[in-house]
């Protein structure tokens, strides 16, 4: 056995007890990384996996078709979905385009691990994740988010459902993005049945023409 060839010299040995402070002192002159949450809220990275959102088409109909694929994809069993039939709604109203809609939609945020598999599973891009990470609450029940909590708010010009689909279209036109806003017929339909609807005025200003019925490639 030989001795350590790099044995520190006497000066080095003398300064050794304070050498560790070098790191500390150096950091005193570097920018602060501590975030002053909750007083300052720092935006997340754009693809951060936060709270879920159920999206809408530009005419205000929901994208969710109640297929339950998200519930099936969920490794934590956090999602519960029950589908319903649009045909069961009165007077030709639709919650979503096509045959089915999500009647019950719950995500249990005590179980959710924010893996995003549900987002990958969603066939209509109805379910996406927002950057909202503030998910805490005083009760266990309150952490089960219902459909009302998850639905995207109506953007300006969207018409609150349920209301009929854009005339002369089927779900495929919606999927292809040919629906760009509510039509006058939809606005009239809602005005007749729910004259006090808060989204009516903005939607009435934003009406567009229905896409050309022969425009599809079917």
């Amino acid at each position: 056995m030989t001795e350590n060839p790099k044995k520190p010299g006497p000066i080095a040995e003398m300064l050794a007890p304070v050498a560790g402070f070098g790191v500390t002192f150096a950091n005193l002159f570097r920018p602060v990384v501590t975030e002053q949450y909750p007083f300052e809220k720092v935006p997340t990275k754009p693809r951060y996996h936060g709270r879920h959102q159920l999206n809408r088409y530009p005419d205000g109909l929901e994208k969710c078709i109640g297929c339950e694929l998200c519930a099936w994809a969920c490794p934590a069993d956090a999602i519960y979905v029950e589908g319903g039939d649009n045909a069961d709604l009165p007077e030709g109203a639709h919650v979503s385009p096509g045959e089915r809609y999500g009647r019950v939609y719950q995500i249990n945020y005590l179980r959710c691990i924010f893996c995003g598999l549900c987002i990958e599973a969603c066939p209509t891009r109805a379910l996406t994740m927002t950057n909202d990470y503030e998910l805490a609450g005083p009760t266990r029940e309150g952490m089960i988010f219902e459909k009302d909590d998850l639905l995207a708010p109506l953007r300006e010009g969207m018409l609150a459902g349920p209301h009929p689909m854009v005339e002369g279209t089927e779900d495929l036109e919606y999927y292809r993005g040919e629906i760009t806003g509510p039509t006058q017929a939809q606005v009239d339909w809602v005005r007749e049945r729910r004259p006090d609807d808060a989204s009516l005025d903005a939607a009435a200003k934003a009406t567009v023409a229905a896409p050309d019925a022969n425009g599809g490639t079917r």
Partner: protein, 852 residues
């Protein structure tokens, strides 16, 4: 069967066996076996889509290609130049087969076929109902290529194409295996879809004048199905089977479409409750709700098919009017009925027992259990009536019935065990149908008969007023018989006749294995069942009684008839009574002759009986619904055991809710006499009838020992069948038919399979496939009544009238046929008469508002 790889071992060679080598394994299989089956037997799975064991081979999908080599004349094994479809090729001696496991050629061929099938397949598995239980999905995953080389645009069709209100077709997903068209052609015989067009445009479609143009369908999933000229909805009673055998998601049912995913479902083997066959089914449920029912695989009963009624009609069990709590009705001092109110089990049972005990002591209590019970429930009803209530006034026949029928059942049905079976139906050389329409009233019996007739083994004759579409598909021979004249024709057959067609039939019935099938309708034709017994005695033909309801045979065997104790023991026989009294641990059983259903209701109206215990009985099914309602109104106490609110519960003093079939376990007895045990599918607090009856008897001071169904089954098995003298055969004289005056006709009627029955409630898609209610009459009768084909015919009696579109049919004159209980044609409630009665017929007008 001998399987060996050791050529040194001497093997006894059966001349009917063929030795082949598959993947190096030598096996001997019966002559005529398909290669794919021979491979299955030694555990080699060959992928396939079009192949189905119960359908004829077709080789349509080409997925099962294998390499085959066969010995030539010199005995040299020569490979065939191209791979062969193993599902369509029979084995031959010395054949050497290499499947995808040992042959690169076969494997490449199968990969190629799979790639071809997937070219136009939309791959929408995430939103497809079949995803998760899809043979195409499974085999694409196990045997297909990981990536597709197809870069073009896939073929698209408008979808779904509505074939009927229930069956929807997605042509994009279809791989043209033709299982559905082969099923409808070979098995059901009502071809409602077929292949159309050629080449890349080849597709399945329905017969339709628009079919080649495929006019766009607007609202694709709702609305009535198209109709042909006879007024029959263009649909099949068996169409649901095509959905089940479709190897992709091309055929879906409107009732189940998008409702759930197969991997979420919990499956329970069960037995269908809608007809007397007790078909094996699979109940798929999730979160305590039944989502769908599929055919089970029971080769001795229903093979792999069930009727659409058994498949789709299950919402009645969870209908909104389902009873969940016991209900009690308080009566005023003068006996007027108040409102039903919710009560506890303890209170309801106490009230019921007190009132029943008082009624029993004041005159007597009748029991009407209804015809849909399990063995256990029927036995408990019989025991309750004869011990706690001390009466023989019990009759499960909630339909027109007669004393003659009761003697017939006691003589020829009760205690006979399994006699004629489903297997006998397809092997019988001759089958005579009397008062029985197999497709409408027999469910799967029709498919078995058709299997025999299609194989050329069986000939069918039917005594009926006209040849139904079902009889035509059985290639059956009609013996035109006006209603009420069945006994006359059967007697002519029994005694021998010179009439050539009847003589031929009589000779055919003398053949070994010939069958006579009689339906419950004969109960309302006096003398007919006596004549049938004489016919079978004279010809040696075997006899089977096929009722419509699942609980009828159980009732006959378990003694819910006034003259019968369990096991076919006659009440009139002292030894039989002692036998049962000993088993039930009572000193004696009531000896007074009991009343049948009509007798019980008449005695209630006349206040000879003071109370009644009613099971699942619909008043509209009884001979005279109006009189039945009056009889229940007159009773001091009506105790109703029901699943759903009904006309009976509206009149009941105590309503005790019982479990529907999905929420209990038990055993049905089908028409063969075969025990069809089933387990409880859903978790439930609902009690089966026998549990409720046991509690009721306990409050009456009697122990039925009916708490546990298994204990009850043991008790029933220990009783066994009666080995003493049977009930004497009935010898009722036929009644001369009533004279037919001008402007009148004799009524013929039977139930359609899909009708206005409460078991089909809540099924709009199924109802859309029902046959439209029409009145049928001959051209001469129609002319005399002044009605054109398609015009409205009014059929009336003193009680009321029915107006239906008339369809001129080849049938005897002075006869009019109506469906018994279809929408717009409730014969018993509206006309108050039974088949064989004389009714007025006139031209009707739909616009009339005058009262009849």
């Amino acid at each position: 069967m001998t399987t060996t790889t050791d050529s040194q071992t001497p093997v006894a060679v059966d001349p009917n066996l063929v030795t082949v080598t598959i993947d190096g394994i030598e096996t001997a299989v019966p002559k005529g076996t398909l290669i794919i089956r021979a491979a299955e037997e030694i555990g080699i799975a060959i992928p396939r889509f079009c192949d189905h064991p119960l359908l004829k081979p077709v080789g349509a999908c080409r997925q099962c290609l294998v390499d085959v080599a066969m010995p030539d004349r010199e005995g040299n094994v020569r490979p065939m130049p191209k791979p062969q479809p193993s599902c369509a090729m029979e084995v031959s001696p010395g054949m050497v087969v290499h499947t995808q496991k040992t042959s690169a050629v076969a494997a490449k061929a199968q990969h190629g076929v799979m790639e071809l099938l997937l070219i136009n397949h939309p791959l929408d598995c995430p939103t497809c109902d079949k995803g998760g239980e899809c043979p195409l999905q499974n085999q694409a995953l196990s045997d297909g290529r990981a990536t597709s080389r197809f870069t073009d645009v896939k073929r698209t069709f408008a979808k779904p194409l509505k074939i009927s209100t229930q069956i929807l077709l997605d042509r994009e997903r279809c791989i043209l295996c033709q299982r559905c068209t082969r099923f409808s052609k070979e098995i059901a015989g009502d071809q409602f879809i077929d292949l159309q067009k050629r080449g890349a445009s080849q597709q399945i479609g329905r017969f339709d004048e628009d079919v080649l143009g495929f006019a766009p369908l607007g609202d694709a999933t709702v609305g009535p199905a198209a109709e042909d000229e006879s007024g029959r909805a263009f649909a099949s009673y068996w169409s649901g089977n095509t959905v089940q055998i479709c190897p992709v998601g091309a055929l879906t049912s409107a009732a189940y479409r998008f409702r759930s995913r197969p991997f979420d479902l919990v499956s329970t083997e069960a037995v269908a409750e809608h007809d007397a066959n007790g078909s094996a089914i699979r109940i798929d449920h999730r979160r305590g709700t039944v989502m769908r029912r599929l055919a089970g695989d029971d080769p001795v009963v229903n093979e792999e098919w069930i009727s659409d009624k058994d498949r789709f009609a299950f919402h009645w069990q969870t209908a909104p009017d389902r009873l969940t709590h016991p209900l009690v009705r308080d009566r005023a001092e003068d006996g007027t009925r108040g409102e039903l109110r919710t009560a506890s089990w303890a209170e309801a049972l106490e009230v019921a027992a007190t009132a029943l005990a008082a009624a029993r002591d004041a005159g007597g209590v009748g029991v009407l259990p209804g015809g849909r019970l399990t063995i256990e429930d029927a036995y408990a009803y019989g025991k309750l009536a004869r011990t706690a209530l001390g009466t023989n006034d019990i009759d499960h026949r909630a339909r027109p019935a007669s004393a003659e029928e009761e003697s017939f059942l006691g003589h020829a049905v009760a205690g006979h065990g399994i006699d004629v079976t489903f297997g006998d139906l397809e092997k019988a050389p001759a089958v005579l149908l009397v008062g029985f329409e197999p497709e409408e009233e027999g469910g799967i019996v029709f498919l078995r008969l058709r299997k025999g007739t299609q194989a050329g083994r069986t000939r069918v004759w039917s005594l009926a007023p006209f040849a139904t579409r079902g009889l035509e598909r059985l290639d059956g021979t009609l013996v035109p018989t006006a209603p009420g004249l069945e006994s006359e024709v059967v007697d002519a057959l029994a005694t021998g006749t010179d009439e050539p067609s009847l003589a031929a039939l009589r000779e055919a019935l003398g053949a070994q294995g010939a069958l006579v099938l009689v339906g419950e309708r004969l109960a309302s034709v006096p003398g007919s069942l006596s004549a049938v017994l004489r016919l079978t005695a004279a010809t040696g033909a075997r006899l089977a009684w096929i009722p419509r309801r699942i609980g009828e045979r159980a009732g006959v065997e378990m003694g819910t008839l006034p003259g019968l104790l369990p096991g076919g023991r006659p009440v009139s026989d002292a030894a039989a009574r002692v036998d049962i009294a000993a088993a039930w641990d009572v000193t004696e059983l009531p000896t007074a002759p009991g009343r049948d259903t009509d007798g019980i209701l008449a005695a209630l109206a006349a206040r000879e009986l003071r109370g009644v215990v009613v099971g699942g009985v619909e008043l509209g099914d009884l001979t005279d619904p109006v009189a039945a309602r009056a009889a229940l109104e007159a009773a001091d106490v009506v105790v109703s055991l029901e699943v759903r609110a009904s006309e009976v519960t509206d009149l009941a003093d105590v309503v005790l809710p019982v479990a529907p079939p999905a929420e209990k376990s038990g055993s049905y007895l089908n028409w063969e006499g075969r025990v069809r045990a089933f387990r409880q599918a859903l978790e439930s607090h609902a009690l089966p009838d026998h549990r409720v009856l046991d509690e009721l008897a306990r409050h009456l001071g009697t122990d039925l020992g009916a708490r546990d169904g298994n204990v009850l089954r043991k008790e029933i098995d220990q009783l066994g069948a009666w080995d003493g003298e049977r009930v004497a055969a009935p010898a009722t004289e036929a009644v001369a038919p009533a004279a037919v005056a001008p402007g009148t006709a004799v009524l013929a009627s039977w139930h359609l399979q899909l009708d206005a029955g409460r078991g089909q409630d809540g099924e709009p898609f199924l109802a859309g496939t029902a046959r439209k209610a029409v009145a049928r009459l001959s051209a001469a009768t129609a002319e005399a009544a002044g009605v054109a084909d398609g015009g409205v015919l009014r059929v009336s009696t003193g009680a009321g009238r029915i107006e239906l579109p008339a369809v001129v049919t080849d049938m005897p004159d002075h006869v009019v046929w109506l469906p018994t209980n279809s929408p717009g044609s409730a014969v018993r409630a509206a006309l108050g008469v039974l088949p064989g009665a004389v009714v007025q017929i006139t031209a009707g007008t739909v616009t009339t508002t005058e009262e009849a």
